[in-house]
Amino acid sequence: MNSSASLFLALRYLRPKRSFVSVITLISILGVMLGVGVLVVVMSVFKGWQVEFKKLVLGFEPHIILVQEPPYEGQTDPANPPPPRTGWRELLEKTRQRAEVVSAEPIAAGTVAAECSKDPVGMEVLGLQPETNNALVKKLARHLKEGVFDLEGDNIILTDRQAADLGAKLGDTVVLHATDTIRQVIREVRDIEDQETDDDKRAAAMGEVVIFSSEVKLVGILRADTAGMRGYVPLNIGQELFNLEDNISEIGVEIADADHADDISEEWMRTAFLPLDWSPRTWMDRFGAKLQDVENQQSLMWFLLLFVMIVAATCVMNTTITVTVQKRREIGILTALGSRARQIIAIFLSQAIVVAIVGCILGLIGGFIVLHFRNDLRELLARITGRDFFPSDIYFLSSIPSHVQPADLAAVCLAALVLCVLAALIPAWFAARVDPAVALRD
């Protein structure tokens, strides 16, 4: 049978035959199980939200954006001249040749006031090249709800929410005014009004004012809940709108593994692959704060749920105390027979370990069951209480996400085990120090 005397006795003392010990052991197991189960569910949902949010962001956000610094204005220091300027075409070619890059495309981006049948709405617009191998266009086209993702001609693709704000339907004409144009026009018109008093001269001067507005046709509508909140136009329209002429505002780079965006951009800067007047911005820079936020909440949760475990451990401690007092005589006999204190402690520790392991396994099973039925549970709760606990407009997701991470599970189980062992150690240590003579006399 058992080769270890301590383990043999531990299992024997757990056996329900003669006494009540089994009931309190069961309750301790239940406590550990609840603690583990809650931790598993909460951690998995948090992790899942993080994973889903990342997927959502990567579904529309370019992995890395390369932006050129504005030209240096004013006095230059002859001893320390500003870096030479590198043309975007040159850099684009260089970027495309790198192995880690899937695609690199010129982008003309800016903010516009868009107008259709309702009041003007401000939005961000990206001008993209309609190339077939453009990975960014490909991933955006996946969110198409109706129409086509066609970047040839005077077209615009908007999300359904933006279209609703504008009051635009497929095929409608949308007028875009770049924000900078609006400012420019205010300035120019005011200058003319200040300087020219004569009506005709004024009209002539007004005729000189160039405005960069575009009329585009709405040809595609994207799902806003997966495609972000941007509008997309052909590159040449973007260049026209934002008065870029032949230039672009940024280069959008798609890489093979988006998780390495930060490493890659760092490497580009370190190895001087990137000219000094260009700087990279990764999707993590833009959305890192939000992900960090979730991580903070997650660690807060860990901290809170640790208390569930601590309270569960007090249960285990109570059980061990009871068992040690119950087995006082037996401990006395064992000590009198020559067992070491270590061995006696091991008896009760292995008992606690058995409780912890069984509790962990049951907790994991319970947690997985709850996770599996999480969306059914939510519907049930919503039906009973009349309140949706996971509204998609707050959490961006239509169903409760979950992502089980083995490392998290291991950490949860380890925490349960360590706390249970610590809780059992204290009474076991005292029990082992009982004077056999006293124990046997009682």
Partner: protein
């Protein structure tokens, strides 16, 4: 001494003299104390965050806003019967003020640089309730709202380097778009005369306003203020207004007010009603959800703490098997024996709850010191909640919440003790005494 036998026995069985029972009782009490401590501290801090956020919104936003749809290009402003609406609003209970306003988005220009701002044109004497609120975040100048003056947010002021008394140009958002339309029409016109005529119509007269005050944007809600007639002039409303702003004595009941006024029929058709909660709707809903989740998790802590009590009671009843047998044999009724152990559970529950209550108030009192200590240990991650750095942790102790926590914890302890006590009392005395 005590004249109730169950109480006497309950206390006696807890006494540490001969056996270990006292130790497990203490451990149970500690378990409950930790549970109560967590429940009260976490709930209070979360409540504090929500109340803080709500107070910021209440202080910054108009409590209820009825706004007219914006006029179409060229069309005269819509004259709706706002007087009737204002009068009807004043009829409602708890309304401090219902005042007309002229507001919208403007471009503010100073020394060639532009920013946009949301502006509220109000009559100073009528809108006293609203302006009293704004006055709390006034940094410089005055809030008299004389005609031709503007009170601006500090972020705009610092962006432009504006000081009191500076003159800024203000353009309404709408007329800038109109100018753009005219330019487009003129550019599309091939006939030279017609084009000239169109170009002659282009006018963009700014309104020059003097800065009379600066308000803190963080607490003032990113609004600028001017007088009603100045607002009407900016937005070319004539005698019409953009809507009616209402301040309430009890902003928490804004939805009740909105419902009442909607049924009264005084709100003109096509007008939009906006309540202060809508400015932070998503976050308030998220906070509400978090609170419910948290309550669930905290209830599980209480449940596990109750398991501890159950364990203790089971141990005690088994320990006292013989005594229970004797008591039953000499005529102790089952409910008397049950009450011995239930009283024990109640004592454990009461002591644990009390201990948790006291320690939670200590923790809440020293929360900022505790955070400082934790930050020192853990490298600064404790600070950011919702991505916001807060100088102090808010906490709001609500009496009904604390009471609920205590009742819940006591009830769980009683139930936890009742189950084993019930079985113990039904012990056959012959069996118990024979063992």
């Amino acid at each position: 001494m005590t004249n109730s036998a169950p109480l006497f026995l309950a206390l006696r069985y807890m006494r540490p003299k001969r056996s270990f029972v006292s130790v497990i009782t203490i451990v149970s009490i500690l378990g409950i104390a930790v549970g109560v401590l967590m429940m009260i501290v976490v709930r209070s801090v979360m409540q504090g965050f929500e109340v803080d956020f709500r107070n910021t919104l209440i202080a910054a936003e108009p409590h209820a806003l009825f706004s007219a749809p914006s006029a179409k290009e060229g069309a005269p402003p819509v004259m709706a019967d706002w007087q009737k609406l204002a009068a009807a609003a004043k009829q409602q209970p708890g309304v401090l003020s219902a005042t007309p306003f002229a507001g919208g988005v403007v471009y503010v220009e100073f020394k060639g640089r532009q920013t946009d701002a949301r502006i509220f044109g109000l009559r100073p004497h009528e809108a006293a309730a609203r302006l009293d609120k704004v006055r709390k975040s006034l940094l410089e100048g005055a809030l008299d709202l004389a005609d031709g003056t503007l009170v601006i947010g500090d972020s705009t002021a610092s962006q432009h380097g504006l000081a009191l008394g500076d003159e800024v140009d203000v353009y309404p958002d709408r007329s800038v778009i109109d100018v753009l339309h005219r330019f487009r029409n003129a550019q599309n016109e091939s006939d030279a005369d017609k084009k000239n005529a169109l170009l002659k119509q282009i006018k963009l007269k700014p309104l020059k306003l003097r800065i009379a005050g600066v308000v803190r944007d963080e607490t003032g809600g990113f609004y600028s203020y001017c007088s009603l007639s100045t607002g009407q002039e900016i937005f070319r409303l004539g005698d019409a207004v953009s809507g009616v702003a209402v301040e309430l004595a009890e902003p928490e009941k804004a939805d009740v007010f909105a419902k009442a006024i909607a049924t009264s029929g005084a709100v003109p058709a096509e007008w939009k009603t906006t309540l202060w909660t809508s400015a932070g709707e998503a976050r308030l809903a998220a906070m509400g959800n978090e609170q419910i989740m948290m309550r669930l998790i905290l209830a599980i802590i209480a449940l596990i703490a109750a398991f501890s009590v159950m364990n203790t009671t089971i141990t005690v009843t088994t320990q006292k098997r013989r005594e229970i047998g004797v008591l039953t044999a000499i005529g102790g009724a089952p409910n008397q024996i049950t009450s011995i152990f239930v009283i024990q559970g109640a004592i454990v529950g009461a002591l644990g709850t009390l201990l948790g209550l006291i320690s939670s108030f200590i923790v809440l009192h020293f929360r900022d010191d505790i955070r400082a200590a934790l930050t020192g240990l853990g490298g600064g991650h404790v600070n950011a909640v919702d991505g916001v750095f807060l100088a102090t942790i808010p906490a709001q102790v609500r009496a009904d919440d604390v009471a609920l926590t205590c009742v819940l914890s006591l009830a769980m302890c009683l139930i936890a003790a009742l189950i084993p006590a019930f079985f113990a009392a039904r012990l056959d005395p012959a069996v118990a005494l024979r063992d």
